[in-house]
C-alpha cells in the first residue's frame, strides 16, 4: 500500500469514527420487563439483563449482547418482508444478499441464513449442524444450529429459531464463540425465545 492510499484510508476511518456519535447509547433491557424488538410487534421478556446495541444490521433487525457483539450476539429479525434480505446489503447491485421470498419454505430458512453469512462475511467455513421443527410464536417453526469461522479466526456456534407469520419472517439468532460463550448463555437465550409473542 502506498503512502497516499494509507492516508486516504486513515482519513476515511477518521470520518467513519466521527460520523457515528461516540455517545450512542446502548440501552439496558431489564430482567422481567416485556419489550418489543426490531421495530416490530415481536415482543420478548428477558430472564436477565441484556444490552441492546445501538447499531442496526438492517431495517427490522435489532441486536442484544452481554459482553459485546463479538462474544454474544442475540439478533432479532422482526418481520422481514418477501423480497428483502435479512440484513442491509452493503451495495444492492455489487454485493447483493440472498432474499427472503414468498415461496421460501421453513426448511429453507437455514439456507437463507447460511447464504447471508457466507456472502456478507465472504467465508467458506459455515456448517449447518441440525435443523428441527419447533413451535415458535404459536406457529410451526424451525430451529437450527450452525458453526462458522469468521475472519477473526474464532469459531462461533449459533442457534436460530424462526417462523413465517402472515408471510413475514420472524427469527431470533444467537451467535457466540464455540469456546465457553455459547454454552454459557444458550439456556438464557432459549428461555427468552420461549417468551416471544407477536
Amino acid at each position: 500500500m502506498n503512502r497516499i492510499n494509507a492516508g486516504v484510508m486513515l482519513l476515511a476511518l477518521l470520518a467513519m469514527a466521527f460520523q457515528a456519535p461516540l455517545a450512542h447509547a446502548h440501552n439496558l433491557r431489564k430482567k422481567g420487563e416485556t419489550v418489543t424488538v426490531a421495530d416490530s410487534t415481536l415482543s420478548v421478556t428477558p430472564g436477565r439483563d441484556w444490552n441492546r446495541l445501538s447499531g442496526k444490521a438492517g431495517k427490522n433487525v435489532e441486536t442484544w449482547t452481554l459482553d459485546g457483539g463479538q462474544l454474544n450476539d442475540l439478533t432479532f429479525f422482526g418481520g422481514i418482508v418477501p423480497g428483502k434480505p435479512l440484513v442491509k446489503e452493503r451495495h444492492k447491485k455489487k454485493a447483493p444478499l440472498p432474499k427472503f421470498r414468498k415461496v421460501t419454505l421453513l426448511v429453507e430458512l437455514p439456507e437463507l441464513l447460511e447464504g447471508t453469512y457466507r456472502t456478507y462475511k465472504n467465508i467458506g467455513t459455515f456448517r449447518l449442524i441440525s435443523t428441527n421443527p419447533i413451535k415458535f410464536l404459536g406457529q410451526d417453526g424451525v430451529t437450527f444450529t450452525y458453526e462458522y469461522t469468521d475472519q477473526d479466526q474464532i469459531t462461533r456456534k449459533g442457534e436460530a429459531t424462526a417462523a413465517i407469520v402472515a408471510g413475514k419472517l420472524y427469527m431470533v439468532s444467537f451467535d457466540a464463540p464455540r469456546l465457553h460463550y455459547f454454552e454459557r448463555t444458550i439456556a438464557d437465550v432459549r428461555a427468552l425465545v420461549a417468551t416471544a409473542t407477536l
Binding site: 500500500m1 502506498n2 476511518l13 469514527a17 452493503r90 426448511v107 447460511e114
Partner: protein
C-alpha cells in the same frame, strides 16, 4: 501479485508483436537464504510470527495430499531446487487469491483451486508469486509497509470508538496475519514477476500459454458476474487479488508475448489436475454457489463442465438455480437435479433439492416422492425431521 485485468486487455491479446522478446531463463537460485540487514531481518521476523498464526488457523485446509499436490505443481513449474524454499498453506476461502510472503509462506486460497483448469494455469499463478518472492519485491516495500502497520494500530483504536457493524468489519479486514499482507507492487515489479513466472513455465514441461489463458478465463468470469448483477463492468475491487492493482492492458499482451511459441504443444495436465481436485470439488463448488454470485458461479460451473458434465456439477448448478429462487429457476433446477440423479444415484441432497423445487412449483406429489427418497437414502440427515414433516407418512416408513 495481482492477476487483475481489464476487459480491454483481452483484445490486446490477439495483437501481440510477433517479434516480442521471450521470457529469459530465470537466474540460478541461490539455495537456502537467510535475511540480510536490519530491514529484512525485521520483516522476516514479523512474517514468521504471521506464519505461526496461519499454521494454527482453523481456516487452513489440512489435507496432506492436496497440499503435497500443489507443492508438486509448484516444483514442476519453478524447478525442484527452488520450490524447497516454499511452504504451502491452503486457506478455505472462496476467492481468487494466492500470495507468497518473504519468508516462503505460500498462501493458496480454495477459490483459486476451483478456478484453475489444469496444472499449467495453477503453475502460472504460483510461478508469478514465486517471482515476487525470488526477487524480494516485498522488501522494497517494507518502508511503506511500516506505515501500513501504523494504520492498523490507528484503525483498531478508531474502530473501538465507533461501534458500528461496518467499522468493525473494516478493522477485521486489516488483520492480515492469516490472509497475508497487502502488497501493492509497482508496475515494474509486476512486469518482472510476470517475466519470471512465464520464464519458469517456458523452462518447465508445462505450456507457458496457460498464463494468458488463465487470465482470460478470470476476466470472463468477472464479466459474467457483473452482467448477471446488472452492472456495466466488473468491479475489480470485489476480487481480493485484483483490488490492490489497477487493470493494465499492457500486461496481458506482455504475458502472451513472453511465452515460448513452441511450448504450446506441451501437455497442460488437465486430467491429473481434475483427478487431484476431485475429492475437494463438491466442497469448493458448495462454497462458491452459496456466495450469491449467480453469474460468476454459473460461468464457473459451465466452464468446469467443458470437459463433460458430472453429477457434482449438475447438482451444484441445480442448487445455484434453486437458491436464486425465481419461478423459472425452479424449472431449470428440477431439470438439473434430474441430470445429476441420472448420473449418480448416490446423491441424497439432489433428491432433497428436487423435492423442494418440485414443491415450490406446485408439483406436491412428485415433490413428496423425491423427499421420501431423500429420507430413505439419508435417514440421519441433519434436517430429516423437518423434511419428514413435509412428507405424509414418512415417519411410519422409517
Amino acid at each position: 501479485m495481482n492477476w487483475l485485468l481489464l476487459a480491454g486487455a483481452l483484445s490486446a491479446l490477439s495483437a501481440i508483436p510477433a517479434a516480442a522478446q521471450k521470457a529469459a531463463v530465470p537466474p540460478p537460485y541461490a539455495g537456502v537464504y537467510q535475511p540480510q540487514g536490519v530491514d529484512e531481518i525485521g520483516w522476516w521476523r514479523q512474517d514468521d510470527e504471521d506464519e505461526r498464526t496461519l499454521a494454527a488457523s482453523p481456516l487452513v485446509i489440512r489435507d496432506e495430499k492436496l497440499t503435497g499436490y500443489i507443492r508438486n505443481v509448484l516444483c514442476a513449474t519453478v524447478g525442484t531446487g527452488r520450490c524447497a524454499s516454499a511452504r504451502v498453506y491452503v486457506i478455505r476461502e472462496p476467492v481468487f487469491n494466492a500470495s507468497m510472503s518473504p519468508n516462503g509462506t505460500l498462501r493458496v486460497f480454495s477459490g483459486l483451486l476451483l478456478r484453475m483448469r489444469n496444472e499449467a494455469e495453477l503453475g502460472a499463478v504460483l510461478g508469478h508469486e514465486f517471482g515476487h518472492f525470488e526477487r524480494r519485491h516485498s522488501l522494497n516495500l517494507f518502508r511503506t509497509q511500516r506505515s501500513g502497520t501504523d494504520l492498523l494500530a490507528w484503525s483498531g483504536l478508531l474502530a473501538s470508538m465507533a461501534p458500528s457493524y461496518n467499522v468493525i468489519r473494516v478493522y477485521r479486514d486489516l488483520q492480515w496475519s492469516v490472509y497475508g499482507h497487502l502488497f501493492r507492487y509497482g508496475r515494474d515489479q509486476e512486469r518482472e514477476a510476470d517475466a519470471l513466472g512465464v520464464g519458469y513455465l517456458n523452462q518447465s514441461s508445462l505450456p507457458p500459454q496457460a498464463a494468458a489463458a488463465m487470465w482470460q478465463n478470470l476476466m470472463a468470469e468477472l464479466e459474467a458476474s457483473a452482467k448477471a448483477r446488472g452492472l456495466r463492468k466488473p468491479n475489480f475491487k470485489t476480487v481480493a487479488f485484483t483490488a490492490s492493482h489497477p487493470p493494465e492492458g499492457e500486461r496481458a499482451a506482455t504475458l502472451a508475448g513472453l511465452a515460448l511459441p513452441d511450448g504450446s504443444g506441451r501437455d497442460n495436465r488437465a486430467a491429473q489436475y481434475r483427478a487431484a481436485l476431485a475429492p475437494w470439488l463438491p466442497l469448493l463448488l458448495e462454497d462458491q454457489i452459496k456466495l450469491n454470485d449467480f453469474g460468476g458461479s454459473d460461468y464457473l460451473i459451465q466452464n468446469l463442465a467443458a470437459d463433460g458434465w458430472t453429477a457434482d456439477l449438475w447438482f451444484a448448478r441445480a442448487e445455484l438455480y434453486r437458491t436464486r429462487g425465481n419461478q423459472r429457476d425452479f424449472a431449470n433446477a428440477i431439470q438439473f437435479y434430474g441430470n445429476a440423479i441420472s448420473l449418480s444415484g448416490a446423491l441424497p441432497a439432489a433428491y432433497r433439492g428436487l423435492g423442494l423445487a418440485l414443491t415450490k412449483t406446485g408439483r406436491l406429489i412428485e415433490g413428496q416422492a423425491a423427499l421420501q427418497k431423500y429420507l430413505q437414502l439419508s435417514p440421519d440427515a441433519s434436517d430429516a425431521k423437518m423434511i419428514s414433516m413435509m412428507v405424509p407418512g414418512a415417519m411410519r416408513n422409517e
